[in-house]
């Protein structure tokens, strides 16, 4: 089992993006998916960083793929998707729209925002050219085990959400703009003020969700730290780590160390990287997604 870093869901400055991928080149991860996942309006601000990041990461021996948007609606976004596929790098599909542009026989990856809930869908995607599939974070361990086995039979590497705030929903409406009483078309890029999203609490002060533009994430940081043995036994090929603005190298190193046999202390190392947020693993191991098996 190795480590895959997913696309950054947040809106960061050019400098932050550059530093992040420069650091990541030195991190013990096997592959990196990058590109704008959440909002096409953000892309012009940082797209010039992408070629350099790809070069740096590949020079460091990482496998690199480009992610599609999570929700493709506008003509501009459809063109963007088509262009992405022609760039010659593996594409991670996070909206099935991309399949219209991926020629038969061209291999592709499938991201966690595509609904792969069962063997029938995995088989169909494998026939169509899927080589890696990161399962939806919502899936329980029982389903992961079945799909990892189905993937092994079909030569598809199955990946599981390993660490990071969980993407829970995507919308046509921008909640960041709404919080600032602005329309999406006049958002003034307020999501850039919150490099790890904007926390949402209940009226009783319970930590609950995180708003990130048109995306809604959990406020807890999901972690498969307590399931590494089971995931490995199930034949899961890779753990997905989702970018955050601080301590990301520590997170990569903590998991790499644990996969290398030094699992002791992993939870406490991770707890120091969440900025006070709780850890959760309920989708894999509990009743509700927010639950944490570590008590």
């Amino acid at each position: 089992m190795d480590l895959t870093v997913g696309p950054n869901p947040f809106f960061w400055s050019v400098e932050a993006v550059r530093d992040f991928y420069a650091c990541l080149a030195r991190a013990p991860v096997a592959r990196v998916v990058l590109g704008e996942l959440v909002c096409s309006k953000r892309l012009p601000f940082w797209q010039d960083e992408i070629p350099g990041a790809i070069e740096t990461l590949r020079a460091a021996g990482k496998e690199v793929a480009l992610s599609t948007l999570a929700l493709i609606t506008l003509p501009r976004e459809r063109r963007l998707t088509r262009d992405l596929i022609e760039m010659g790098l593996p594409v991670e599909v996070n909206d099935l729209t991309a399949l219209r542009f991926i020629p038969d026989g061209m291999p592709f990856w499938v991201g966690p925002l595509v609904n792969v809930y069962n063997e029938g869908t995995l088989d169909w995607l494998a026939d169509r050219g899927a080589r890696r599939i990161c399962l939806p974070p919502e899936l329980p361990m029982g389903a992961v085990e079945i799909l990892a086995e189905a993937g092994r039979q079909r030569g598809v590497a199955v990946e599981v959400w390993g660490h990071g705030r969980v993407p829970l929903a995507i919308s046509g409406r921008c909640y960041h703009a709404r919080l600032h009483d602005r329309a999406k078309d006049n958002c003034q890029f307020v999501c850039g003020e919150d490099p790890d999203g904007r926390p949402v609490e209940t009226l009783d002060g319970q930590a609950f969700l995180t708003v990130n533009g048109v995306q809604t994430l959990s406020q807890s940081v999901a972690s498969a730290a307590r399931q590494l043995g089971l995931l490995r036994a199930a034949g899961v090929a890779s753990l997905r780590l989702s970018p955050q603005s601080a301590y990301f190298s520590d997170i990569c190193e903590a998991y790499a160390g644990a996969l290398g046999g030094g699992a002791a202390g992993l939870e406490s190392r991770l707890a120091a990287t969440t900025g006070g947020a709780a850890l959760s693993d309920g989708f894999l191991a509990g009743e509700a997604g927010v639950d944490w098996s570590g008590g």
Partner: protein, 326 residues
């Protein structure tokens, strides 16, 4: 005339919808295969067959929703639903899952396939992908599109489109939301439920009714006053200095006045949400919308909607159809 597609959570609601003027009724089997898997709702196999006979005898169609995502290791339940819908004489099945679409195209080629809103096909390329790959004949449009976008989509596709005009409003792209399972462990995609009643607790605290879902406070309202159902994305929350309905107010969609625009946009069918609602709701909403599509076909102005009382928060919105919603 635009086709009016109406909800039925029970056989009685199906008969009510047909009698009130539905051109088509959509419903599902009483298990996790459909996205309104609520206690006391839905159809067993005999009820489905009888419902379809009732509708067909009166010139109405029945569309069977099998629109959750089959559970790994238990796909047989969904495959049986496909076969049983066909055997019962369904006019179409409404599907969302890639694997299930492939199965239907292969094993039930004569059974008409509609793409569920749960598949969230939000642009012409995605729709054409489903049409070309699985022979889908109609796509239920996600509730994130404007009328202008729907117009553009219809110019670029061959298949029919169906648009929601009334009822509960998802603010998130449907079929791509795990908010409910994050709080409760039960989700639309896997269990066919959102913000399930089994996880709702009401408490009286300091003169307020507090509604909690999976232990999370969704809203507080003055005791004894009107209260919305604690649907997660319509809750009242706090972020920084702001407190309010951060995602959506507790309102429902009423697009009666937009029907002529939707007709001009090339929409074939209009859909009413609410399989979890009573036959009183079905009767009133279906009658009102049948009158509206009759008026549209005759070039008359749309009737004023008298359905406000049936809507959550007693308030209606045109949702994403107007661009300002975003």
């Amino acid at each position: 005339m635009m086709e009016l597609v109406c909800p039925a959570g029970t056989p009685a609601a199906l008969r009510t919808a047909v009698d009130a003027g539905a051109h088509a009724v959509y419903c599902g089997f009483a298990d996790a295969t459909n996205a309104r898997n609520f206690p006391g709702l839905n159809f067993n196999r005999d009820e489905m067959a009888a419902g379809i006979r009732y509708a067909h005898a009166r010139g109405a169609k029945v569309l069977v929703a099998i629109n959750t995502f089959p559970q790994a290791g238990n796909q047989g339940l969904w495959h049986a639903a496909l076969a049983d819908a066909e055997a019962a004489g369904a006019d179409a099945v409404i599907l969302a899952d890639l694997g299930l679409l492939a199965r239907a195209a292969e094993c039930h080629p004569g059974l008409r396939r509609h793409l569920s809103v749960q598949a969230a096909a939000a642009n012409a390329d995605a729709i054409n992908f489903y049409a070309e790959t699985f022979g889908v004949k109609r796509v239920v449009l996600p509730r994130v599109l404007t009328v202008a976008e729907i117009t553009a989509i219809n110019r670029a596709i061959e298949v029919e489109t169906e648009a929601f005009v009334f009822g509960g409003l998802c603010v998130m792209a449907e079929g791509r939301c795990s908010l409910s399972s994050y709080a409760t462990g039960r989700s639309p995609n896997m269990n066919g439920v959102c913000s399930p009643a089994s996880h709702v607790v009401y408490a009286q605290e300091r003169g307020e009714t507090v509604a909690r879902l999976g232990g999370f406070t969704i809203h507080r309202t003055p005791a004894g006053g009107p209260a919305p159902y604690p649907t997660l994305c319509k809750g009242c929350f706090t972020s920084g200095a702001q407190t309010g309905h951060i995602f959506e107010d507790p309102v429902s969609l009423d697009a009666t006045q937009l029907i002529p625009q939707l007709a001009r946009a090339g929409v074939t069918a209009l859909k009413i949400e609410g399989r979890q609602r009573s036959r009183a709701y079905v009767a009133e909403v279906v009658r009102s919308f049948r009158a509206a599509v009759e008026a549209e076909a005759a070039g008359r102005p749309m009737p004023e909607s008298a359905l406000r009382r049936l809507t959550e928060g007693q308030a209606a919105t045109t949702g994403a159809y107007a661009k300002t919603w975003r």
